[in-house]
């Protein structure tokens, strides 16, 4: 958030420990919250479910990305299994809802819980191995979970490996359009965001960071590595499970093809582009990865049509591949401009305006 910090002195511990210490920051947070809450209103007036669906997709991806960032960015444990942990959450929710008639909120929490359990289990190798070796171990998690869903009919729901769930409803409200689904997702997004922000500045968060920076040193200063590494896996997988369950209720189907290895890598890309070890960065990364292909799709086609008079159908193959090229190029550009991610880029913007117009 944009703020100026000069002249802020805390006189008590309470003020010092607040999540946002500056008045301007508090106003900015309230403003953002207001915008997020009122966002569907103008879109609903225009009947534009399209933009709302994009926002929903981004919010869903953000939850998963924040979770992965806790594990990768804060604790330094590389994981290639985020997609699989999302699948665990998604299928748990779908089984509970469709077979046992549980309400959606229970499905989401149970999905998170189940994913946390499975994530902890697959996190055990992290106690002995780290870095690329751990990445390969989590890759195994991805493959094992995918295989299990595909070949155990009770979990996967038969040959199609997909389970339909009913449209979620809560106190008589049916989440049957994009605007309503937005609020459903927003609640969990805000909980995830604020939860992560608080987690990383707590004792637990500091332990995570200590492990990331040097696990031997962390152990010497009294951090219980066994506990905190597994805790990082549990928390991260819980986020993934919640995201997967929400994604299931959003589509109203649990299907493993939403949670393949490609998806895991996509989440890894999100946090690397957004900024490792930054909650805001996870969200920015999710926006980048999810929004950019859509924006490119729309702009490239309309530019080709309006500027060059080329109609889509004649050069569709070229335009579709050109977008991929642009997408790849933009990832490289953003990473080389600021290797520490979009969150750092945002910091740079703020720093520039802090001294503006009298920069030295």
């Amino acid at each position: 958030m944009i703020n100026r910090e000069a002249g802020v002195f805390q006189t008590g511990y309470q003020g010092d420990m607040a999540l946002y210490t500056l008045p301007l920051a508090k106003i900015a947070v309230c403003g953002t919250l207001g915008i997020l809450l009122l966002l569907p209103w103008p879109l609903a007036q225009a009947g534009n479910e399209h933009l709302m669906s994009i926002v929903n997709t981004i919010a869903l991806a953000s939850i998963g990305a924040i979770g992965l960032n806790i594990l990768n960015g804060y604790t330094g444990q590389i994981s290639l299994g985020q997609g699989a942990f999302m699948a665990v959450g998604g299928y748990t929710a779908a089984i509970l809802s469709s077979r046992y008639g549980m309400p959606f909120w229970f499905g989401i929490l149970a999905g998170g819980g189940m994913a946390a359990l499975v994530g902890t289990l697959f996190g055990i190798p992290s106690l002995r191995i780290k870095g690329l070796y751990l990445a390969v171990a989590t890759l195994a998690a991805q493959l094992i979970i995918e295989w299990t869903i595909n070949h155990v009919p009770w979990i996967g729901g038969g040959a199609q490996s997909s389970i339909y769930v009913d449209t979620p409803r809560f106190l008589g409200l049916v989440f049957n359009n994009e605007f309503r689904r937005y609020y459903l997702i927003l609640v969990f997004f805000l909980l995830a965001y604020v939860g992560a922000q608080n987690l990383v500045r707590s004792r637990v968060g500091r332990a995570f960071i200590a492990i990331r920076d040097r696990d031997v040193a962390a152990e010497i200063i009294g951090v219980n590595i066994f506990k905190y590494k597994l805790l990082a896996f549990a928390v991260s997988s819980f986020y993934a499970g919640v995201a997967g369950a929400l994604w299931t209720y959003y589509l109203r189907i649990a299907n493993y093809e939403n949670f393949t290895l490609v998806v895991s890598i996509e989440y890894l890309t999100m946090i690397i582009i957004g900024g490792l070890g930054s909650v805001l960065g996870s969200v920015l990364g999710a926006i980048f990865i999810k929004l950019l292909p859509i924006v490119l799709d729309i702009t490239v086609i309309s530019i080709a049509k309006r500027l060059f008079g080329i109609s889509y159908e004649n050069v569709a193959n070229f335009l579709a591949n050109f977008q991929l090229l642009m997408f790849g190029a933009l990832i490289i550009i953003f990473l080389t401009v600021e290797p520490e991610g979009l969150a750092r880029l945002w910091e740079n913007v703020k720093r520039y305006f802090r001294l503006w117009p009298y920069s030295y």
């Binding site: 669906s53 991806a61 046992y100 997909s162 589509l251 299907n255 093809e257 569709a316 579709a320």
Partner: protein, 416 residues
């Protein structure tokens, strides 16, 4: 670091431009479609989607349907579910009354939306086999033989003309994903009914390594026939492996996604001689509709692309033709304005629609959104796919019973 300025400017420009949409003209009927031209099934998409465009253009050249021109909007989804959802919402915003969905996982994800918005979705060759049942899925129209029907037809052929009898050995070679496993139930049931000796062989993704399965089939099991159900690069690999192991390719029946011209090209036409492929649309240029398209190209002094008349191109034409026929029936019986709900009724009026032998005699009713489950075999001869059988179908009772069972399974699941 000043670079961020233009980067952010670029991004904002992109977002602003992205928001602007287009609105439909009064006399136009908007059709939405998704395509995968860059993802894992791009070999299909780059041929199928031009087929849709060309047929719509042909209709518009002829003056549209009852004076109404069609506008076809295509959105690329790259075979990704989130892109598919976005594409669906974008097409809905732009006023599409019917949509062509592309990709099995995307069809799965969009099915509830089609029901919710009462917008029919055409899913030829994609999606779940039990969406044949229009009572349960009123707005989903596969309009082509489902995997169950394909398996039923393959087994019927083996029984009638393949010379198999009780105790004959049949192998099923499939890609180990939901679509690949879907016909397995029908396969096993028919084997039980007829008393064949059957085995199934799974090929794990990405399906380019199957030498052990092929050795198992050709050396140990030595079946009389093989039914293959592979996607992407896998069919061409399987053709080469069968040839390498000396298994006769005219004893291999491929279901619909394993017999495109490109598969033969990759495997080599010489290698693929005799290979039997199943189709739900005609192949080649000897159809009035394909000839019309070729004339349209020639009238504009454009070169006719090589893929006109190819398997996947013709499937695109098939889809577009079905949509056009649905719209024609809506205009005839229901009148303007054309809406999703009316389109659903229009599709269910389609009766004995063949498009000059290009399609099987397709009849769509509420209980059968598949249109009968007709298929036809083509054989690789020279550098062409030549007709091998006429349109036929088989084991309809088994297939329809599977559909019923799927419905029952869902109902008991609801009760629990």
């Amino acid at each position: 670091m000043r670079n961020w300025k233009w980067l952010i400017g670029l991004f904002v420009c992109g977002c602003v431009a992205g928001v602007s949409g287009t609105t439909a003209l009064a006399d136009e009927i908007v059709i939405g479609g998704q395509c995968d031209r860059t993802g894992p099934t791009k070999n299909v998409g780059t041929q199928l989607c031009p087929g849709v465009f060309d047929y719509i253009k042909l209709i518009n050249k002829k003056g549209g349907i009852n004076g109404h021109t069609l506008r076809y909007i295509e959105v690329e989804n790259a075979y990704k579910v989130d892109r598919g959802v976005e594409a669906y919402e974008r097409l809905k915003r732009d006023g599409a009354v019917v949509m062509l969905d592309y990709g099995t996982p995307i069809v799965y994800a969009l099915t509830p939306r089609h029901m919710e918005d009462k917008l029919p979705g055409l899913t030829p060759g994609f999606g779940r086999a039990d969406s044949t049942d229009g009572q349960r899925f009123p707005y989903i129209f596969p309009m082509a033989a489902s995997y169950w029907s394909q398996m039923g037809a393959a087994m019927q052929y083996l029984k009638d003309k393949g010379g198999v009898k009780k105790g004959s050995k049949i192998a099923y070679l499939f890609y180990d994903n939901p679509a690949g496993r879907e016909p397995l139930g029908v396969f096993k049931r028919i084997c039980d009914i007829e008393g064949y000796e059957c085995r199934d062989f799974a090929v794990p993704a990405p399906g380019v390594e199957m030498s052990s399965q092929l050795l198992d089939i050709t050396r140990r099991m030595q079946p009389e026939w093989v039914v293959a159900h592979l996607f992407g690069k896998a069919p061409s690999v399987s053709i080469k492996e069968f040839r390498k192991n000396g298994f006769p390719l005219d004893k291999v029946i491929s279901l619909v996604w394993g017999a495109g011209e490109e598969d033969m090209q990759v495997a080599g036409w010489d290698t693929a001689q005799g290979y039997l492929g199943m189709q739900f649309a005609g192949v080649g240029r000897d159809f009035p509709v394909i000839q019309d398209i070729i004339k349209m190209y020639q009238a504009e002094n454009q070169e006719v692309p090589e893929h006109v008349g190819w398997v996947y191109y013709n499937r695109g034409v098939l889809t577009a033709a079905l949509i056009a026929e649905g719209i024609r029936l809506v205009l005839e019986h229901e009148g303007l304005p054309v809406t999703g709900e009316k389109m659903q009724k229009g599709f269910e009026r389609i009766k004995d629609f063949t498009l000059g032998g290009f399609l099987p005699p397709l009849t769509v009713v509420r209980d059968d959104h598949e249109g009968g489950g007709w298929v036809r075999f083509y054989q690789t001869k020279g550098e062409k796919l030549t007709p091998f059988t006429d349109w036929f179908r088989g084991y309809r009772d088994v297939v329809l019973d599977e559909v019923k069972k799927a419905e029952k399974a869902e109902k008991t699941e609801d009760k629990k």
